[in-house]
Symmetry: C2
Subunit: 315 residues, 2 copies
């Protein structure tokens, strides 16, 4: 099969985003596909620089991801963690033995002053990932979660507290001042289509859109800009999107997601289960694609990617 | 059994030293036993601060050491290394998955500006090691190996090059300026006996003695100072001691070790196999104990420790 040679840019967070990214990577020629990944979840832990969303996207594209957990690598072992527990050291954030190689190399290279883009590219290259995977910015942006119990760093909220505290607001610390890299801006400028993957709109997509230049360059683009709703039937397939939207008084539905993102979009994809919402989404000025959006295996990932590219006319 | 309550200080490197340290720990009350450990082998690798001799001593005293390798922990797995190999990352220095917990915690705590003594004490405490284990100094000292192929950092010589290059000289970079910590000096000043464990005299003991204050405090001590020969029958039980001594034109024998160390000693222990050398060692002005020095199991470790303390009259 000849691969697509239009320039496709996808914005992605973790699990949901990486699934569609995988689908796109099977049908788009690697030199024409760029995945821009949320780094608002990045944090330092035990001296290691950890980039959860970049890792999930990279592992998924490399085919070494753990499909059971949605994060980390397959065939993982946990002996470092067992030893850490014996030390009564911090065990709230799970670090698999194989996964540690990624964190050690990334941390070492960053401390050797290689750029974040170079480090990401090099890790991907060594795992055999051929399309471009780019951190949304090389500058620090940290998602901060304001809750009824005070402000929490993202991983504290997400992993340590298991998303239990009620959220009152989100803040992307550093985003206002951060610039997307030249590679990110070029990919957007040269894009024939921009796809917002079905990632959490508040925790994965919003941090990317919080970069002023990102939003400006997207607005200047004539390409179709299409998002896939991460909510199906009013529920998130994984993660706290629905709970968060409710706590922030948003409409917990595909329509709610479309309302939240429509000012950067031209097109929107919803699941058959939400077909009744199609008109409400059209009323926001968006073209709509109604199809099966639940990606349960590699075939459905490719199928959704293909349908999206067909719909916006870049296939 | 009542434990010995005289103050015993032992100087140790890796494998051989840790065996005698284990024996001593079984018969000396923990608050009366101090193990001062060589840090000349310390190095940074993949952003981790690694202290091979401290780890070997600590793991051995905690009973979690790997007796097959002489380093690392038992029941180890190597999945981080497998993942690192897949990345074509550095694999010349083996880092076991369980062992990584030690390196991560130590590195994190040191970067948080806890002292090297505190970090060592805390790791030991959490593994249930009750005697004092002290780095010889909290300041950086690095054993450098001058070879026919140029100067090599210790781990490059020892691990990467497997001790193959012919050694022309050794240098303990930083030792002249480094001070032993107050804890080390106090332990030596209050000691009733100082024992040089059967560690490599050039790579494990000499770096400790290269600290001018260490040598001065030992010289000022009226306590017996006894070394155990790491050579038996002209051979090292493990490691490159014999090869190194030969390359440096030393007498490759217990006598050669005694000649090298006699100016800091009062007593010397040799194996039955070297009984013929007893007079030569006495001629250096040392009292001699001839006994079985090969520690093949926990019983023989305790037995040698007991015989030494009996011999110098502190049991």
């Amino acid at each position: 099969m000849t691969k697509i040679t239009k320039n496709i840019v996808a914005l992605a967070g973790g699990v949901g985003g990486s699934k569609l990214a995988y689908g796109l990577a099977q049908i788009v020629a690697p030199e024409h596909l760029t995945i821009i990944v949320n780094t608002g979840d990045d944090f330092e832990h035990l001296g290691l620089y950890i980039a959860p969303d970049l890792d999930t996207v990279m592992y998924t594209l490399a085919g070494v991801n753990n499909p059971a957990t949605g994060w980390g690598v397959k065939d993982e072992s946990w002996n470092m963690m067992a030893a850490m527990a014996r030390y009564a050291g911090p065990t709230w954030f799970q670090l698999g033995d194989r996964d540690l190689a990624t964190h050690l190399l990334r941390t070492k290279w960053l401390s050797d002053n290689y750029t974040y883009n170079w480090v990401t590219k090099e890790l991907c290259r060594r795992l055999g990932v051929r399309c471009a995977v780019l951190p949304m910015t090389e500058e620090p942006v940290r998602t901060m979660v304001q809750t009824e119990e005070g402000e929490l760093a993202f991983q504290e909220y997400f992993v340590k507290r298991k998303c239990e505290p009620v959220v009152t607001a989100l803040r992307y610390a550093g985003a206002e001042a951060a610039q997307p890299s030249r590679e990110v801006v070029n990919a957007l400028r040269q894009s024939d289509a921009i796809i917002l993957c079905p990632s959490n709109p508040l925790l994965s997509i919003d941090p990317i859109l919080a970069l002023p230049t990102m939003r400006r360059v997207m607005a200047a683009s004539r390409s179709p800009k299409i998002a896939v709703s991460p909510l199906v039937g009013g529920q998130a397939l994984k993660g706290p999107a629905a709970k968060l939207m409710k706590e922030l008084n948003m409409d917990v539905s595909a329509t709610g997601v479309a309302q939240h993102l429509h000012d950067v979009l031209t097109d929107f994809v919803i699941d058959h289960a939400d077909a009744a919402e199609e008109q409400a989404i059209k009323d926001l000025g968006l073209r709509t694609l109604v199809t099966g959006t639940i990606m349960t295996n590699n075939e459905t990932k490719v199928q959704l990617a293909q349908e999206i590219l067909d719909f916006i006319g870049v296939a």
